[in-house]
Every structure is written in structure tokens, then in C-alpha cells.
């Protein structure tokens, strides 16, 4: 069976009517009409891997269908540059890695940024610059004009002050900043908005698939179909705490015969992932029923199948920008156990749309609670799906971006269109 069809499904905005209702799509059209032919230029650091690239991949065609001229470009950088930006990433998350950021690192960042400023041919009415990697592009603001928005997808609730201070001089030049959760807000003289990321319900990763496809994926990865599956899908990153997940699984395993699947890929802008996979494998060595799956890029349907096959989905992150894999799992009506960090509490309303935890032991207790009470697990999963439908689908995300473009030039609390 071909589980990776070459032909990509051409999504139309009308396809979402059955999911979110016609009136929602009508509203999108109305708002988009106010921005007809406006150029919205997005810039980030990679076309594939990670949540940002995934969202843009699905959102750009929809914005274009709605009449905007939405564009997407990426900055170029060598391995050294991405190692530095990974350090920035960790530092913004409040990780100790910031200690190792040297003046030379800043020089590398500045040098690559300068090259990108020179080489990138940007043109637009609204510029959405995603995350710290391309943040220095703001230097082009005077040259190209338009409204510039820094879209931060990272948990900056407790950033390393040195790195934040370094980036702040760029941020202040933007017209506005956008964060994914309220606790990421900073004291800034520019306007700050909260826009949660989203999932695409008709994408390969989230659309309905047949049991046949699910079975074939389980067979491919030699997973036992008779044992409950506890799944964590995420990039191999220390901040996702894969070792902590295995520790929680060890506790659960004492009470329930189940299996753990840690599935993830790597992103081109994340050089750290290979090391994390190695560490995780070493820790899991000798523990039965732990499956560490390196899923190659563009394997969305496999992720979809694994999530649909899972009994419980975990996201035991130490830090989390938002954690879209949670929305993906909720959309599939799966009960979720996740850490109360970053944007996760926006998705998991404790005991209503899932269970929140704050420690390895807490995660294990929650998983056991769900394994022992399938009806409760199912109730949470169904609530979670509705929560995602209302708040975390791509149509809401598109709407927020459109509203942002309109609100950026109007400081009133109530704007009449």
C-alpha cells in the first residue's frame, strides 16, 4: 500500500466548510477582501522540519486563495550559523546553553544576517519574520517600507537576559511582536499580540485515514497491536525530555502492560537532534517495549497513523513554544498527558480536555489514570477535539493573521471594518 502518495492533495478553502462551518469561511473571505492583493512576505529559516515550516506550508496557499499575495522565503545559513541560532533558541527557553554563547557566536550571527540582508530581495506590505534566526532582516525596513511583525514561536517566558537583550534591539524596530501564549509577553514599547499556532485538519498529518493504513504503519515499525501504545511525537530535543518520558513509562509499566513509542524527526535548523537521539537510545537500551522511531521528513501520514493508533499521547516537554503535536493528538480525539509549560495549558484545560503534569511521577500517575479508565480517557479526547476545532485549526490562524494585518495600523480597541 502506498502510504506516501506523491501527489499532494490540493487543498481549497472550501474544504474547511464542512469542518468549521460556512459562516466561518464567509467571515474569512470578508476580512481577506479588505487586504486584497496586499503582499504578505513571510521569512523563516527552513522550508521543512518543525512547526513553523509546517504551518507556513499550509497557510500560504490558503492566504493566496483568499486574495492576498502571500509569499514565503527563507534565510540562508551554514551549520555554524544554525548552531548559534540553536544556542539562542535554548537561551530564550531559559536553558543553560546561553552560558556558552561567545562573542564569536554573535559575530557569526551578524555576518550571516548581513549576507541575508544583502541577498534577500524582499518586497511587501506586511512582513512576518518568524523566530530569531531572520530577526536582523528588520534592517531592510527603511528600504522596503511596510509593516514589520516579529512572530516569535518560542517560549520566551523566562529568557536568558543577555540573549534577550541582544535580540531586543532588533525587536524594538518592528511595528509589533506576536507570541503564542500570554506568559511569553515582555515589557516592550511596541504592540504585542497573542496568536496561537494551529494544525491543518485536511493535511496528510491530520486527515482521516483508513485502518488499513494505520495497520501497515504499525507493521512497518514492528509495533505490537495488542498492547496499548503510549506515544510522544516530537523533534529529538532535550527540551522535549524524551528520557523523562521513558522514566515515566517505567513507572507505568509496573502496573500496565503497554508499549512506549517515541517518534520524531529532525529539522535542518536543529543540529542538536542527532546527539539527543543517541542519548535517548542509550537510556532506553535494555528496557522492553520502548520504540524509538526516527521518522524521515515528509512522512506525515505515518505520524498520522501512529497518533491514531495511540492509546494515550504524551508531551512531557520541559519547555515548549506551543506544542502543536498536542493539538494533532486532540484532533484525533486522543487523551493527552502533557507538561504545564509554554502554550500547552492553552490546549490542555486540566481534567477537561486532557491532563496536565509537572513531573515525571505526575505524568506516570496521569497515564495510569487514563489506562485504567477508558471512558474518562475517551471523554477527555472528545472534549479535546472540540477545543481544537474552536481554537487551534488553521482557519482560526489565518483569521488571526488577517486581523493582525488590519489591526496593526489601527490602535483602537474596537475597529469597524
Amino acid at each position: 500500500m502506498d502510504i506516501n502518495p506523491v501527489k499532494k492533495y490540493a487543498v481549497k478553502i472550501e474544504d474547511y466548510e464542512a469542518i468549521v462551518g460556512k459562516s466561518t469561511i464567509d467571515e474569512l473571505r470578508f476580512v481577506a477582501d479588505k487586504l486584497k492583493n496586499k503582499i504578505m512576505q513571510n521569512v523563516n529559516s527552513t522550508f521543512s522540519g518543525g512547526g513553523v515550516a509546517e504551518i507556513l506550508d499550509h497557510m500560504i496557499p490558503l492566504l493566496n486563495q483568499l486574495g492576498l499575495d502571500a509569499r514565503w522565503d527563507v534565510i540562508r545559513g551554514n551549520a555554524e550559523f544554525f548552531e548559534v541560532t540553536k544556542k539562542f533558541h535554548n537561551a530564550l527557553h531559559g536553558n543553560d546553553a546561553a552560558i556558552s554563547i561567545t562573542p564569536e557566536d554573535y559575530s557569526i550571527f551578524n555576518e550571516t544576517s548581513r549576507k541575508n540582508i544583502d541577498e534577500l530581495n524582499l518586497k511587501g506590505d506586511i512582513f512576518l519574520i518568524h523566530d530569531p534566526q531572520p530577526i536582523a532582516l528588520i534592517a531592510k525596513k527603511k528600504e522596503v517600507g511596510g509593516s514589520w511583525i516579529w512572530r516569535c514561536h518560542i517560549d520566551v517566558s523566562n529568557p536568558d537576559r543577555a540573549v534577550w537583550g541582544y535580540l531586543r534591539k532588533y525587536i524594538l524596530q518592528y511595528n509589533a511582536a506576536v507570541f503564542s501564549a500570554p506568559n511569553f509577553a515582555q515589557q516592550l514599547p511596541i504592540r504585542q499580540f497573542m496568536i496561537s499556532p494551529s494544525i491543518d485538519p485536511v493535511s496528510e498529518k491530520n486527515r482521516e485515514i483508513s485502518q488499513e493504513i494505520i495497520n501497515s504503519v504499525l507493521e512497518k515499525y514492528q509495533l505490537n497491536t495488542d498492547k496499548p501504545i503510549i506515544l510522544q511525537v516530537s523533534r529529538f530535543d532535550y527540551l522535549k525530555d524524551p528520557v523523562g518520558v521513558i522514566k515515566a513509562f517505567n513507572i507505568v509499566k509496573k502496573s500496565y502492560d503497554c508499549q512506549l513509542v517515541l517518534a520524531g524527526g529532525t529539522a535542518t535548523d536543529d543540529p542538536e537532534s542527532t546527539e539527543v537521539i543517541k542519548t535517548t537510545r542509550e537510556f532506553a537500551d535494555g528496557i522492553p517495549d520502548v520504540h524509538i522511531l526516527e521518522i524521515p521528513p515528509k512522512s506525515d501520514i505515518e505520524i498520522n497513523a501512529l497518533q491514531r493508533a495511540a492509546t494515550i499521547v504524551m508531551q512531557k516537554s520541559i519547555k515548549e513554544g506551543f506544542g502543536l503535536t498536542i493539538s494533532e493528538a486532540l484532533w484525533k480525539s486522543k487523551p493527552v498527558v502533557a507538561s504545564a509549560v509554554g502554550g500547552i495549558p492553552l490546549q490542555i484545560k486540566n481534567k477537561l480536555t486532557g491532563l496536565l503534569c509537572h513531573s515525571i511521577e505526575g505524568a506516570a500517575v496521569a497515564v495510569k489514570q487514563l489506562l485504567g479508565n477508558p471512558d474518562y480517557a475517551s471523554w477527555l479526547g472528545n472534549n479535546g477535539k472540540e477545543h481544537v476545532r474552536q481554537n487551534f485549526l488553521i482557519t482560526r490562524h489565518v483569521k488571526d493573521y488577517l486581523l493582525l494585518c488590519l489591526a496593526i495600523k489601527n490602535a483602537k480597541d474596537v475597529i469597524y471594518l
Binding site: 462551518g21 460556512k22 459562516s23 466561518t24 464567509d26 467571515e27 470578508f30 476580512v31 517566558s157 523566562n158 507570541f179 500570554p182 506568559n183 511569553f184 509577553a185 515582555q186 515589557q187 516592550l188 504592540r191 504585542q192 499580540f193 497573542m194 496568536i195 509549560v341 484545560k349 477537561l352 472534549n383 472540540e386 477545543h387 476545532r389 474552536q390 481554537n391 483569521k399 488571526d400 486581523l403 493582525l404 488590519l406 489591526a407 483602537k412 480597541d413 474596537v414 475597529i415 469597524y416 471594518l417
Partner: protein, 455 residues
Amino acid sequence: MMDWLEQNWLFIASPLAVFVAFFIISLWLRRILFNSKLLNNVKWDGDQYIRQGIRTPFIHWMLLLGVYVGVHISVLPEAGKELADRVIGTLFTVSLFWVCITVSEKLIRYYLNKLKASPRGVSSVVNFSRVAFIVAGVLVVLDIWGAPTTPIILIIATVVLVTILAARNAILNVFAGFELTRGNLIKPGDYIKLSTGEEGYILYISWTNARIKSLENNVIVIPNSKVTQSTVINYGRPLKKAKEPFKFYTRLHLNELTGIKASNIDELVDGLKTVPDAVIYYHTHHFIEEHHYLVPEPANDFSVWTGDALDDTVLSEKLAGIDTYEFTNINALRMRIIAVIEEYISTKPVLHNAYPGREFHFIKSVGLVMPTAYSAYDLREFVEILRKISLDSLYFHMFESRLRLGKGINDFSIWLKDNLDENDIANSISHLDPYNYTLSGLRSAVIQLIEKRIK
């Protein structure tokens, strides 16, 4: 001559007597048939044209029958009888088809005028019917006189078949139009809803299509055949029209972060005193839009935070007890929240600080208000639109207008009172406490109230 008459008077008198008898019978029959109660009770509108059309020719046809019988009992030679048969047949055919032409013309004009067809269209159909009957009549006459008609019939049949195939949709629509007007199933002014989704007031029904004014104020042209093939709910005649239509708006929102946060109760009060109204509005209303699908949750963020982050369940309950519906402007609501907190901490200080990461973040609601395509002139349109509009639109008219825009009452009640004099229903809606419903539940409650009124 006289001798011949004497010997054969019976051969002459008998046919004459038969002819006279048929004449008398025809007069008697016409009197019986055309004045009978049976025919008068026919409820079909077209029967009068048929009766008028055949009243006089009926006598002619009876007389021709009398001549036919008379000829056949006469002593005329067989060749003479055969010639007479052909002449009688020809006369009867001409008379019959003439009647068909005049009656069909009247029926066509009657029905097409009911369908508001154009004069040109009517005259085309009448001419087509005339030609059809004349061709058929000529064919019958040719057949009577023994001329070969099969090739002509085949040619005509082919032409007719091709024409029917080419215009089958139009023909279907015309027949459906006849069906609609004949049965008086729907008529201009009725509010209809088709199973295929179209709905609105019928503007008029032509001989090929029905035109309805949709809820979005568009004119929808629906082929008559589609109307007859669909399940149609006819809600009947229009209700009282409003002086001014209710124009449905919707409101979308964006969350703006203020960067202001509180770690303890004093900082919360400080923030409450200084933040804009849009922040108070956000923290007392965002749950309605974000969680409306799950439970009616008449709490506010201040209550949730003091309970969860400051572990003060008593203060949390006191804040949850503030009835937002009592307030008609945000500042009054703000003052009440502050008063509840200050009154509480004056007797029982809240010393606990929120753990790092669990601070209260003040968020501002930026509302973007826009018109929708919908406007209602009466209760029927209003209730049907209510079923269709987004929950954002319902939210705007029931919550945002009342409190944030400071109207003090929801938009629906204002319109019902001012434009339709529907005071009772306006009061009923304004007495609904929207904070105790999910948005879907609130929509159903308003719809039920209006449906009860228009039943």
C-alpha cells in the same frame, strides 16, 4: 318521378328521419351535458374553455353522425357511400382540429399568463400548438383520402424527437411550472425552503423558473423542475415587515498582550485600576468564545487565577459570584471587581504570591466588527438567519453590543421593539441571561422564543 317517390319514399324518409332524430337528440344531449351539475362541479380552471369550445361544434358533430348513419341506411351505391364517408370524415376532422386549436390556445394563454410569461413567449407557444394541430389534421385528412402518410409521419416524428431532446430541460421546466401553478402549491409571497438548501420569499414564478429573494438579499433563480423535484417546506405568507431591517454584524477578535502581569493580589488590584476597559472585557468574556462548546462557564479570569494561583478559594468564589449580566458598562463592572477584592483583603489579607510562571497576564481584546450579508425584515427571515449566522455574530449582538458598546440591552430586543412592536418577545430575549448558556444553547433559546411567536 312521382311513381318512383311513391315506391321508394321509405328509402328517402328513413335517412331523413334518422338525420332529424340525431338533430333532436343532439339538442337534448347538449342541454343535459352542458347544464349538468356533474360538469359544473369540476374544479379544474381549464374546464370552462373546453365547454365553451365544444358547445357549438357538438351539434355539428352529432349532425355529421346523423348524416353518416343516414347515408349508410340509404340506397346509395357503395361508391357513393364511400365518397360520403370521406367527406363526412374530412368535415369532422376539420371541425375537431379547429376546436383543438381554439381550446388549446385559450388554455395556453390562461396558464402562461398565470406564469407571467412574456407576450412573445405566449404567442410562440400558441403558434407552435396551431402548427402541430394543423399538421396532425392534414395528416388525418390525407389518410382519409387514402394518400400515403407514413413517410411524412416519420419525418415529423424525427423532427419532434430532435426538438424534444434539444429542449428537454426547458420542456421539463415548463411542465413543472404548470404543475406548480395548477396545484397552487407555492405562490409569490410565500417563504419556502428547499431540501437543496435554497430558501427565501418567492418573488414570482415564470414558466421556466421560480425566483426567490434569499436571506442574503440575493435573487436566486431556481428551475421549476428543481422545485418540483425537491422537498419544499412552505412557511406561507410573509409576516409583518419591519420599518428598518435588522442588519446582522459579526465581530472577530484579536488578543493583544499588554506585558503587564500580577504576581499577587495587590498587583492584581493595581492592574485592574489602570488597564483599559478592553482588558477587563477580555478577562470577563473570553471564556465564552473559547469554551462555549463545552459548558456555560460564568466565571472570570480573576476568579480562576485567585483560586488556582493564589490558592484562595473564598475570594475566588466571591469573584465568580459577580453577575456580569447586572452591568451595562465595563467601568461599573471593573469597580465591582475591585470592590470585592478590596473588601475581602481588608478583613483577610491574601499574602500568597503566585509561583513563577503562574502570574496573571493582562490581555486586551481588540474587536473587529464587520457586516454580514444577512438582513431580516420580518420574524421568519430573522429566525432563519439566526440558524445560519456564526456564533461570533450571535456573540456580538447579545454580549458585545450590550456591554462593551454600552447599549445596555441586546441588539435583537432593540430591533424587535422598535421596528416590529414585538415588545413581549423583545422582553423575553432581554431577560435571558446569556452568561448562563453556551453560545449554541443561547442560539437555540432565542430561536425557540421566536418560533413560538410565529407559529
